[in-house]
Every structure is written in C-alpha cells, then in structure tokens.
C-alpha cells in the first residue's frame, strides 16, 4: 500500500495483512494526497475491494466558496420543503460572499452593517495562510491591487454572469479556465464572529473528526476525541492586524513569538466538555453538542447530491468549529486532509488511535457485520437517517426521547470496546461456520 509522511506510517506497519506493493499501481488501500487524486482518479481502475481515502470531488465540501454555495442551495430547498424553522437549522455558517464574483452583494451587506469586522480567506489555502481581517472597504484596496482584485476589476467591466453549472456542481478546472490569463485565487469574505467564547481570555476553535463511508446512502461516523486549539495571545478586537490573536491554527501559532513548543496550546475535548459543564451545567453542554451534531449532518446533506459517490471512496474530514459567547457553534470550515502531524505526546496518541479506528471502520479484512453502531472511538452518527443511542428500532413518531448516537468529548474506552467487538465477531463467525 502507498502512503505519505507523518504519523500514518506508524499504525500501518504492524498490519500483517497489508503487504507492501511491488510496483506502482498495485495497491488495495491508498491514503492518497488530493493532488494525486486529481490527476489519477479518473483513469485508475479499482477492483471491488479497493479503498481510497478521498472522494473525487470532495472540494464541494472543503473549498470554502463551494461549501457556501451548496449550503445556501440546500437551505433554500429545505425552506421550500419543510418551512422556515427547518431551514434556520442551517444558519451555522457566518454570512459569506464569494470574491470576486459576489463582490457587489458583499458591498451591499457591508453597508447594511457598518462597523462590524469581516475576514477575508483564500478559498483553497490552508494553515491560515493569506487570511486577514478588515473593517473598512479601504482596507481591501490592497487586496484589490493583487491578482484577485484585478480579476474583480475586469469582471466589473463585463456583464454579470454566473460561474456555476446548471446542475449545481462545480468543475474544479473551470475556475482556472477563465478568459483572463492571470491565474486567480478566489477568496471568500465572511462575517467575523466578534464575540467568541473565551477561556482564560483566549480564543479557541474545536477540531472534530467525521468519517464518511458513503454519500449515497449517507453513512457518517463521529470520533469521540478531538481538541480545542487556543490562540497564544489574549483576544481583543482592538488589534485586528495581529494574526496571532485571531487565527487559532496551530501552524500560525507555531510562528508566534509567544509560542513554546512544549505547550502545544491544545485541550482534549473531554477536558473542554468538563470545563463547560462545570461552568454552565450539563444541560447547556448537551444542547451545544447536539447543535454541533446538527452542523455535521446538515453540511454533509448539503453536498450529498453533488459528491460523486464511489463505493471505493471514504473520507476523514476535520471540522473546525467556533463557539460564541451564547454557546452557539459556528462552522468555520471542513478539511479533507486534516493535519496528522502531532504536536505533543497526547496529540500523537489521539491521531494514531484515530487512524487505527478509521482502518477498523473501513474494514479491509471484512470482519464487521455492517450493523455496528460503534467501532473503537467512532460512533455511527448517520445511517441514511438518524441513529439513536438506544437499542431497537428508531422511534420515528417524533415523540419519546430520541438521543443521537454521538459521544463527542465523552469517555473513549476504545481499546476495551474493540476487544469486545472483535471477540463477539469471532464468536459469530465460529457459530455460523
């Protein structure tokens, strides 16, 4: 099997059933880079049993501008079908405008809300690169002088035109394939959340892992562990130029002058959940976490029809969530290649266990029955419908206590569970043979 750097090599080595490939192309399981995928997926033949770790057009979910479009469309559809209340459940994404094509809509919204802060993010870059905050249109004049701005200027000179295909999906190549010669980087301008929840005066965001095994039908698992990433400096709206205050990616924090590598500036989600419970009580925390479940499911549902669902594909997403002072969670973005390099011992353990459990769910060895609701640290969150914590058929009448089968930030006794699971599977196999 092939693979790339980082922590991935470690858990994969002891698997005796995965012999190394003899030559390029001879693999059963590939944890691939998105660049390889883009170039090779379309002309690679895969056997039935083969698995690959990305969906062909995952960028529908992970590129900020596409995700916004898909979410907006999904919301409209929900409003038509199920009413305003149901559609409001999709309001977990701060108001976003694609730049440069939605520049005028953005300016309209900007003028309606004077004085608020906006954040400009490049669509396809990661690790906090190229992001900046602004409050006045003057501040983006510099940006306009750059490549994206030039495109805006030329677009403004042309009649209005939509860049989306009628089917609603996007072809990755079309954004490059413009009439203009300059290769342009698209941005999104997003309303900046000015009242983030602070701990110790610091801003943080949450990284949560969601494993999608298929889109049609939608099967998604939620990992119990995750972490809160803290900004190294104290939060204040007075210094929006200070990247280190506002951006919580570890990659950015690592370059901050305050950064001490031993610190790691991360809290495991269990600790975070306990902290909130002791401050706000268990009910408020339950509500917050079920609102987060809502984010995961709705975001996946919004791209369900556009993602090319290939039975060979699965994907481990890293969701970035920000909590505000009213304990409302906001979706910042979804990552298709969440960082698997470890910043501390605890982090290393989390990521190795995460990968191990991913492999268990992918189940190359075909040990699982397919009816499991929990595998190691993963809980089955959505199986073509909500999955209940309780046993037995789901209570579809809407009454009764439906509690979703998610345990984010809860105790993760995965070793014990895996032992029990595989022992009972072995028992079942023996019984049926």
């Amino acid at each position: 099997m092939g693979g790339s750097e980082g922590v991935r090599h470690h858990p994969l080595q002891p698997h005796p059933s995965f012999p190394m490939p003899h030559s390029e192309g001879e693999w059963d399981f590939y944890w691939c880079d998105v660049s390889w995928l883009r170039e090779n997926f379309d002309h690679t033949y895969m056997d039935e049993h083969v698995r690959i770790s990305h969906f062909r057009n995952h960028y529908e979910l992970t590129r900020k501008n596409y995700m916004v479009k898909n979410l907006k469309r999904f919301r409209k559809q929900l409003e038509r079908e199920a009413g305003k209340l149901e559609a409001a459940k999709c309001d977990f994404f701060p108001k976003t405008f694609e730049m440069p094509c939605e520049y005028h809509l953005f300016v309209e919204e900007f003028r309606k809300n004077p004085g608020i802060t906006w954040i400009m993010k490049p669509v396809a870059r990661s690790q906090g690169k190229g992001i900046f905050l602004f409050r006045r249109l003057k501040d983006i004049m510099d940006w306009r002088k750059g490549n994206a701005g030039k495109k805006l200027t030329s677009l403004e000179a042309q009649p209005a035109r939509s860049t989306a295909n009628p089917s609603g999906s996007h072809d990755a190549r079309s954004s490059d394939d413009q009439k203009e010669d300059i290769p342009v980087e698209n941005y999104v301008a997003q309303r900046y959340i000015e009242n983030p929840y602070l701990i110790g005066g610091r801003k943080f965001d949450l990284r949560v892992y969601v494993l999608v095994m298929s889109y049609i039908p939608l099967r998604a698992w939620l990992y119990r562990d995750g972490f809160a990433r803290f900004s190294n400096t104290r939060f204040t709206l007075s210094s929006i130029d200070d990247q280190y205050v506002h951006l919580t990616n570890v990659a950015v924090q690592k370059t901050s002058p305050d950064y001490h590598p031993k610190k790691g500036c991360k809290w495991m989600l269990q600790r975070f959940r306990q902290y909130l419970a002791s401050k706000h009580g268990p009910e408020a925390v339950e509500t917050l976490f079920s609102d987060m479940d809502n984010i995961f499911i709705r975001s996946l549902q919004s791209v369900q029809k556009v993602i090319i669902s290939d039975k060979h594909c699965f994907e481990l997403y890293g969701y970035d969530i920000l909590i505000d002072q009213d304990l409302k969670p906001w979706l910042l973005e979804v990552n298709a290649s969440p960082s698997l390099t470890a910043s501390s011992q605890e982090d290393y353990e989390l990521k190795t266990c995460l990968l191990e459990d991913t492999l268990h769910v992918v189940d190359m060895e075909a040990r699982l029955t397919g009816r499991e609701k929990r595998v190691g640290g993963f809980d089955l969150m959505w199986n073509d419908g909500p999955v209940s914590r309780e046993e037995g058929p789901p209570d579809l009448s809407g009454m009764g206590n439906f509690v979703t089968n998610t345990h984010l930030g809860c105790v993760n006794d995965r070793k014990k569970q895996l032992r029990q699971l595989f022992r009972s599977l072995q028992g079942q196999k023996k019984a049926s043979s």
Partner: protein, 526 residues
C-alpha cells in the same frame, strides 16, 4: 466534667471574640434592628422572637456556617495557661526546626536581593503604574528577564530538612532494631494505621456510592448518580456548610462543585470582599515587590508549561500578586507553626517599631506554589471570588504542606503516614526500593507537597480535593501516594535504580483516584 465544660466555654468565648470583628456580626446587628419593625416581634418576648426570626430568614444558618468555619481550623484544646507558641506548635524541637528553616529561607532571599541589587520593595513610578493597570488582564504577555532569579527553595530542599528532623528525647540508638524506622522520616509521630483510616474514611467504603467510581459509563445513573445530584442541589438550597462537608465526601457533581466548595469554605462574595480585592490590586499597582518576580518565574516555569493550566496564566498572576500583599493572611500564623519573616526599614535593624512583615502576607512562595491556584481556575472565573477561595484553601490546608509541625495533616505526619503504610502493607516493595537507593518518599514527596496538582488529570484532582474538603484533612494525600505505589508495585519490583523508579511513576495522568483509594483502603488483604 467541669474541665470539659470550662474548655467548651473557653472555645465559645474565643470564637465569639473572633466573629465579633467580622462583617457578619455587623450584618446580624443590622438585621436585628431592622426586624423590630416586623409585627411578629413583641417586646415581651424580644429575645426569643428575634432568634425565631433569624432561624426563619436563614441568618442563623449563616452564623452556623461561620462558627463551623472557625472550628475547622481551631487548634485542639490545650492547657489554658499555654503560651501562644504552643498553639502554633506544641513540640519544642519542631518549633526550633521550623525557626532555623525560616532563617535559611530568609537568608537566601536576602542574598538574592543583595546579589541582584534589587530592593525587597519599591514604589512604582506613575508611568509604570499606568502600564501595569492597562495590562492587568494579560500580564502573561509580559516577558521580563527572569534569568537571574532563582526560586527561594524547591520541595526537595525542604525534604532534606525533614529528613534531618530528630526528637532529642527519643533514643533511636545506633543499632538497628525492630523499632527503627526504615524510611526517611525519623520522628515518632502518631499516624493512623489502615483500620483507623477505614473508620475515618468510612464514606469511601465499597458499599457507599462514590463520584469517580459509580458515575462511570457502565453504571446506570439511576443507581446512584441522579439521587446524589438531587441531594447536592438540596444541600445548596439549604446553604448549610456542615451538611455540604458531609455530602462532598462522596464527591461533588461537576455542575455543583464551585458552589459547594464556596459553601464549605464559607465564601460569599459580598461587596466588601470585592472592594478588598480591588484594594489589593491597587497595592500591586503601586508597589513592586521582589517576591513578584519569584511569582512570575514560578508561573512561567510550572503552570504555563502545563498542558491544561497554561490557559489560566493571567488569572494566576492576578491571584498570587494580590495574595502576597494581603495582610489578613497573617491571621493564620496563630495556628501555623511558621512565623512571617520580619524585615526592618533600612537603617533601623532590630527596632521593633520599624519592623514590617515581608512579604506583607508573610508567605514566601517556593517552586511550584502557583500550582495550588491553577486547578481552582477551572471552577471560578471571577477574579475576586477565585482569590477568596484560594486564600481560604491556603489558610485552611495548603500552609500545612510546607511548614514543619506535628499536626496530623502537616507534611511531616503525611510523610510518616505514607512511609508507614508502605512499610506495613507492601514490605517487599518498600525493602526492594530502599535497597536500590530509591526511598519511596523521595518520589512521592513532590506529589504530596503540591497536593497532586499538576500530576493528576484535572477531573481526578478535583475529586481528590473534594475529599480533602469533606474530611477537613490532608491525610488522604498520603493514602493516595501509597495507593499509587501499590498499583504500580509489579513494575516497581523490576527496577534497579532511582531513575528507573522515577520513570515508572513519572506519569500519573491516567490514574483514576477513587478506585485506587478504595482498593487500597478497603479491598487489600492485610
């Protein structure tokens, strides 16, 4: 009988004296006057009616809580003619040892002061005051040059002093006999053995529900947890300190813990408390003390490097800097064997009128001191409340962990308790470790001095501190230390050096405190 009665009346008199100076007394007086307006108060039965009114309105409860709070640190009854030093510490040799230890600390502090040519205290220039005020909520961003400062002492220096403690009246003899202590502590203090501990910690028994055990995922909450939470809410509604203390022996639910601890410590945030804290803050702004740099250094070295407490760095400065200026802390030296260091105004050495306590609260911080505050940041977010809770925890419990005394919760007794437990119930392990030069106390001392802060996971630490409050004793620290050794005994039997033993016991963050304690106390075959 007569003696007991007169002892009791003496205690009552002393507590009344103490409470008369408190704000509660003024409030009660005001309430009594205000109640005269009420129709049910009749002149003929004035006393009974007011008493009845106090009972109904909850003021009696507040008084009860205050009395209970005083009793918890009240020194045990002694001879009425005993001088005040006896109340601090009855044993002369302990007092002497504490005195010479203090002299050493002070010498170290003074020499650091002279070496670095920094005054012990100085008034800040106005510009600096303004700057500090602006930065008050983010003092952690400051990176002053602290390379020349050293902590005044570290726990292991203190351990050496304790090892050399000897009772001059106790003949140890040069020859080893069955009376010889095989451990490091060589003073004959009375410590509890396991049967006595079982009785003392009866609520931790196998048949009683515990948070930390009976709230784990496999146990259905109907069995214990739900009822326990309900009782907790009732205790809080009643505002009864004594009931809360009894309740918390089985652990506190996460959501109720902050309020329960405040109730047990009898902390209520009155406007005068907030004002007092602001006053301390002003003192910090106006004057700079040498100990401030020691505090800074300690926070940067310990709490800031901790994976979970680094977030609270700023709160730590806000609490500790104010703490060193709080002269009300001097009150606890009446029952602490330690005495506050005295310093003299320049040029007036020896003249009592020019003596000041340095630092103003009389407590010189050592390496790791800030870890007493860090776990509290998890529960309290309002600086003045956090401050009050920490101060109360210090003057009730933490001071005993770094002063030499014969008190059953004092660090000397804890060390001896730990060693005795290990020697009695794990003799093979104890002997093995001693033979390879890894005396167990050398490893467990730092855990006990810090009350396990920074060594255990936060939720486990809070469950442990629940029991410290519940039993009003630090003995549980020694029991836990022994239980940890018992838990890792198999690995420890394999090691052949002190370094290897340290490595086996380096990481306690995965330990579950309550099962360990329960097994050690109630389920080990003795």
């Amino acid at each position: 009988m007569l003696q007991e009665e007169s002892d009791l009346s003496l205690v009552i008199a002393q507590i009344v004296q103490k409470l008369k100076g408190s704000s509660l007394y003024a409030q009660l007086e005001r309430q009594a006057w205000a109640s005269l307006q009420r129709p049910e108060i009749k002149l003929e039965s004035l006393k009974e009616d007011i008493k009845e009114y106090f009972k109904i309105s909850g003021w009696e409860k507040k008084l009860q809580n205050a009395v209970y709070s005083e009793l918890s640190v009240f020194p045990s009854p002694s001879h009425p003619a005993a001088p005040p030093e006896h109340l601090k510490e009855p044993l002369v040799y302990m007092r002497k040892a504490q005195g010479s230890w203090e002299k050493r600390i002070l010498k170290s502090l003074n020499s650091m002061c002279t070496e670095l040519s920094i005054p012990l205290a100085r008034k800040r220039p106005v510009g600096e005051q303004k700057e500090l005020l602006n930065k008050w909520n983010e003092m952690g961003t400051d990176e002053p040059d602290l390379s020349l400062f050293r902590p005044v002492y570290a726990p292991k220096d203190f351990l050496e002093v304790l090892i050399n403690l000897r009772n001059p009246n106790y003949e140890n003899g040069d020859s080893l006999s069955f009376r010889t202590h095989l451990g490091l502590i060589q003073v004959p203090l009375k410590v509890k053995d396991i049967p006595e501990l079982k009785e003392f910690f009866v609520e931790l028994g196998l048949t009683t529900g515990q948070l930390g055990i009976d709230d784990s995922t496999q146990v259905p909450p109907e069995l214990f947890e739900n009822e326990h939470v309900r009782i907790g809410q009732k205790v809080l509604a009643e505002q009864d300190s004594a009931a809360a203390q009894q309740y918390i022996r089985q652990g506190s639910p996460t959501a109720l813990r902050a309020e329960l601890w405040a109730l047990i410590l009898n902390i209520s945030s009155q406007p005068e408390d907030i004002l007092y804290y602001e006053q301390l803050k002003t003192n910090v702004i106006q004057h700079d003390l040498l100990v401030d740099s020691l505090i800074y250094k300690d926070v940067k070295l310990t709490a800031s490097n901790d994976d979970y407490y680094f977030v609270f760095e700023d709160y730590l400065y806000q609490v500790l800097l104010c703490f060193s200026r709080d002269t009300s802390v001097l009150g606890h030296f009446a029952y602490n064997s330690a005495s506050p260091p005295k310093s003299y105004i320049r040029g007036k050495l020896g003249l009592e009128e020019y003596a000041v306590f340095y630092p103003p609260n009389g407590v010189i911080p050592f390496h790791g001191f800030s870890m007493y505050v860090a776990p509290l940041c998890f529960l309290y977010h309002e600086p003045s409340k956090l401050y009050q809770i920490f101060r109360e925890m210090y003057v009730r419990f933490f001071f005993r962990l770094h002063s030499i005394s014969s008190h059953p919760s004092g660090i000397v007794s804890l060390c001896l308790l730990f060693e005795t437990l290990l020697q009695t119930y794990l003799p093979q392990l104890f002997y093995h470790l001693r033979e390879i030069g890894a005396q167990p106390l050398r490893i467990s001392f730092k855990w006990m001095v810090r009350a396990f802060s920074g060594y255990l996971a936060t939720d486990q630490l809070l469950l442990l501190w629940d029991r410290i409050l519940g039993y009003n004793s630090l003995e549980i620290l020694a029991v836990l230390a022994a239980a940890v050794f018992a838990f890792r005994a198999v690995n420890l039997m394999e090691v052949t050096s002190l370094a290897a033993a340290e490595a086996v016991l380096a990481d306690l963050s995965t330990l579950k405190v309550m099962p360990l304690l329960q097994i050690f106390l109630f389920a080990t075959v003795t």
